[in-house]
C-alpha cells in the first residue's frame, strides 16, 4: 500500500522508526494530489467542464508544496538528531481554507478574501505543527462555510465526491472530506457549525468529529456562527480522529470560550470495552423533513430505508459487543433544529460578515465610488456570493428592531428546549441514562452536483440530523457504516453528553474493529483505480 493510503498512526510510526522519511511520505502525497485532484479551485475560474475536470476531485484551493517540504525536512532532521518529532510525525494533512496559517492565503472560499494572506496561525494549526504533522495545503469549502454541498465556493471548480465525481462532497468541509477519502492527506481540519464536519464525512465515507463546543479553540478560525462553530478532525480511521483530537484539544488563553476541562487520553479511552454502554435510538432521527417549494409546506417522510437499515445494522453489531440498545428515545424538539438554525446562525453570521469592507484588508472594488458607503456597497455587492448575501440579509431582518417579529427570542427558547432534550436522555440519574445516541448523519447519501444548489431552504434541511447538536453544544461523531445501492457511502452519527468525545470514539472504534472483515470495508473510491493509484 502506498504511504498516502496508510492511516496517520501508521505513517507516524514508520517515520519515527526511520522506515520512511517525512519527505518520502510527502512526495507520495503530492503525487496523489497530482493524480486525482485536477485543477485547484481559483476565484473567478470556470466551473468544471472538460472530461478531466469532471472526473477529478478539486479538493484544494492551494497546495502548499514548498511550505510542506520545509516542515517535512524539519521532522526528518529532528529524527536524525534523536529528538521527539511528535505523535503525528510526518503525517500529511490539509486544512479547510477557513483556518489561518501564517504567510498563506485564508480565503474562506470567498472573493472578498481572495488576496488575504494571514499574518498569524490558528491555534489548531500551531498544535498540528507541534505534533509533527505536515500541511499539504488548504482545501475548498462552501463560501464562509455557508452550505451543505461545497458548491457555493467562489473557488471553481468546486470539490467533487471521490466515490462518484458527478456527486457533491457534502459540506461545508467538502474539500476536507474529499481530500481524506482520496488519500490526499491522512487527516483534514474542518469546522462544524450545523453539521459541516459530519455531513461531508458521511457523504465521502470518512470519520468526522465535531467536538463539544469549546473543547477545541477557535482562535484563528474565520467566524461564521460564534456560539456554534467547532473545529475538528476528518480522517479515514477512528484512531486517526482520536489522535488528531488529542493534538488539538485543550484550553487556549486566546479563546475565552475554550474550556479549561482537562483533556483525557483519547487513545486509551477509545480502546476500552463497550460492554454495558447504553446506546439510544430515536424515531425523531429516522424521519426527514423537506421543504416543498411547490406547496410551500414542510413535508415529513420516513428516511431512505437503505440508510435506516445501515444504521440499525450498526446498532446490531454494537449489541453483539454487549452494548444495551435503548429504543424509543424521545427528542421532541428535533424538528425545530433547522428553523432555529435559520435564525441563530444568520443573526451571528450577519454580525461576523460586517467586518469585510474593502478598507482594512481583502478585496476592494475596481469601480469608481463616491464615498465610504458607496465603496462598501460596491465592494461587498461584487465580492460576496449569494450564500453570504442571503445570510446577512436574513440575519439583519431577524435582528433589526424595525423588522423584529420576535423570532430570535423564540429561537433562543427553542435552543434551550433542544439542550434540555439532550440533558434528559444523557442524565445519569434519568430514565434513559444514555452514553450515546446513534442516528443517521444525513437524510440522504451524496446527491448529484446541481440537484439542490440554488434552493437555499432544501439545502439547509440537509443538516436536519446534525444541527441540534450544535444548538446544544454537545459532541457528535460521524463514521462510515456501509454503502447504498449506488455505491455511495452511508454515515452514522453518535451524539453524547458534554466532553464525551472519548466514549463516542470508543463506540465508533468498537464498530470499526468488529466490521473490519465486512466486504464493504475493502471498497476504495473508483477515482483511485481510474487514475492507477
Amino acid at each position: 500500500m502506498r504511504p498516502c493510503d496508510l492511516p496517520a498512526y501508521t505513517i507516524a510510526d514508520l517515520v519515527r522508526t526511520k522506515q520512511l522519511s517525512a519527505v518520502e511520505v510527502l512526495e507520495d502525497a503530492l503525487e496523489r494530489v497530482r493524480e486525482v485532484d485536477g485543477r485547484p479551485g481559483q476565484v473567478d475560474a470556470p466551473e468544471a467542464q472538460s472530461e478531466e475536470d469532471l472526473s477529478t476531485v478539486h479538493a484544494f484551493t492551494k497546495v502548499t508544496e514548498d511550505y510542506a517540504r520545509q516542515q517535512a525536512e524539519r521532522i526528518d532532521s529532528l529524527i536524525k538528531k534523536g529528538e521527539n518529532p511528535g505523535p503525528l510525525a510526518g503525517v500529511p494533512y490539509t486544512a479547510k481554507d477557513i483556518f489561518t496559517v501564517k504567510g498563506i492565503q485564508a480565503t474562506a472560499g470567498s472573493k472578498i478574501l481572495s488576496n488575504y494572506i494571514s499574518p498569524y496561525s490558528a491555534t489548531v494549526v500551531e498544535r498540528m505543527e507541534e505534533a509533527g504533522a505536515v500541511l499539504l495545503g488548504k482545501v475548498n469549502l462552501d463560501e464562509f462555510t455557508y452550505g451543505s454541498s461545497s458548491e457555493s465556493s467562489a473557488y471553481k471548480p468546486v470539490p467533487r465526491n471521490p466515490w462518484d465525481t458527478s456527486r457533491v462532497t457534502g459540506g461545508s468541509s467538502g474539500g476536507s472530506a474529499a481530500a481524506v477519502a482520496a488519500g490526499e492527506g491522512a487527516i483534514s481540519l474542518g469546522t462544524d457549525t450545523g453539521g459541516s464536519i459530519r455531513h461531508p464525512a458521511a457523504f465521502c465515507g470518512t470519520v468526522g468529529l465535531k467536538p463539544t463546543y469549546g473543547r477545541v479553540p477557535r482562535y484563528g478560525l474565520i467566524a461564521f456562527g460564534s456560539s456554534l462553530d467547532c473545529p475538528g478532525p476528518l480522517a479515514r480511521t477512528v484512531t486517526d480522529a482520536a489522535q488528531t483530537l488529542q493534538a488539538i484539544a485543550g484550553h487556549d488563553p486566546r479563546d475565552a470560550t475554550s474550556a479549561t476541562v482537562p483533556v483525557p487520553d483519547y487513545l486509551r479511552e477509545m480502546e476500552k470495552d463497550i460492554r454495558g454502554m447504553r446506546i439510544g435510538l430515536s424515531e425523531e432521527f429516522f424521519r426527514v423533513t423537506y421543504f416543498d417549494a411547490e406547496s410551500m409546506e414542510l413535508v415529513v417522510n420516513p428516511i431512505d430505508p437503505q440508510i435506516q437499515e445501515a444504521v440499525l445494522s450498526a446498532a446490531g453489531f454494537l449489541a453483539q459487543l454487549g452494548a444495551d440498545i435503548v429504543t424509543d428515545v424521545p427528542l421532541p424538539h428535533t424538528k425545530y433544529g433547522v428553523p432555529t438554525y435559520f435564525v441563530i446562525s444568520r443573526v451571528e453570521a450577519s454580525s461576523n460578515l460586517l467586518r469585510y469592507d474593502g478598507v482594512k484588508y481583502g478585496y476592494r472594488t475596481d469601480q469608481e465610488f463616491a464615498d465610504l458607503r458607496d465603496l462598501y456597497r460596491k465592494t461587498r455587492g461584487e465580492a460576496f456570493g449569494v450564500e453570504p448575501k442571503l445570510r446577512m440579509l436574513m440575519g439583519i431582518y431577524l435582528s433589526a428592531a424595525q423588522f423584529d417579529k420576535g423570532y430570535y427570542q423564540l429561537a433562543l427558547k427553542a435552543r434551550a428546549l433542544m439542550r434540555q432534550d439532550f440533558e434528559q436522555i444523557f442524565d445519569p440519574q434519568g430514565k434513559y441514562r444514555l452514553d450515546a445516541l446513534l442516528t443517521p448523519t444525513a437524510p440522504s447519501t451524496a446527491f448529484p452536483i446541481g440537484a439542490v444548489y440554488g434552493d437555499s431552504v432544501l439545502m439547509q434541511y440537509s443538516d436536519q440530523l446534525t444541527a441540534t447538536t450544535n444548538h446544544a453544544g454537545i459532541p457528535g461523531l460521524s463514521f462510515p457504516v456501509g454503502f447504498d445501492r449506488e455505491e455511495l457511502p452511508i454515515g452514522a452519527q453518535l451524539l453524547g453528553p458534554d466532553y464525551s468525545e472519548g466514549s463516542l470514539l470508543r463506540v465508533a472504534r468498537a464498530y470499526e474493529k468488529v466490521t473490519e472483515n465486512e466486504a464493504w470495508r475493502t471498497k476504495r473510491p473508483p477515482i483511485l483505480a481510474k487514475n492507477g493509484s
Binding site: M296, Y336, P339, I396
Partner: protein, 106 residues
C-alpha cells in the same frame, strides 16, 4: 403566497447590509428569503411557557470549564506591519478611508 419581505423592505435590508445588488440577483435573493421565512414561522408553534429558558449558547459555562478573566493589560501586537500591509490604501502607516458622507438618520 403572501410575501413576508416586500421589495421595499428588501431594499432597506440591502442598505443595512451595505450591498449593491443588481435587479435580477435581488429578486432571486428576495424569493429565497421569503421561502426561508416560511420555514422559520414554524417556531411560532413551539410549546413555551413562562418557565421556558432562553439559551444564547448550548453548553453552560461554569467555574468547572471557564477560564479566569485575563489581566486587563495592553500588549503590542507582533504582526503590526503585516496587518497594515493588507490594506488596499495606506499612507505613513495609516489606513486611508474614503470620504464619509453625512446622512440624515430616519
Amino acid at each position: 403566497m403572501t410575501e413576508r419581505i416586500s421589495r421595499e423592505d428588501f431594499q432597506k435590508l440591502a442598505d443595512l447590509a451595505s450591498l449593491e445588488l443588481p435587479g435580477e440577483e435581488a429578486e432571486y435573493l428576495r424569493k429565497e428569503l421569503n421561502n426561508q421565512m416560511i420555514s422559520i414561522e414554524v417556531l411560532e408553534s413551539i410549546p413555551i411557557d413562562a418557565e421556558t429558558g432562553s439559551a444564547a449558547h448550548g453548553l453552560p459555562y461554569t467555574e468547572l470549564n471557564s477560564p479566569a478573566p485575563r489581566p486587563d493589560e495592553t500588549r503590542q501586537d507582533p504582526h503590526r506591519d503585516e496587518i497594515l500591509a493588507q490594506a488596499p490604501e495606506l499612507e505613513d502607516g495609516y489606513i486611508v478611508v474614503p470620504d464619509i458622507a453625512q446622512e440624515e438618520l430616519e
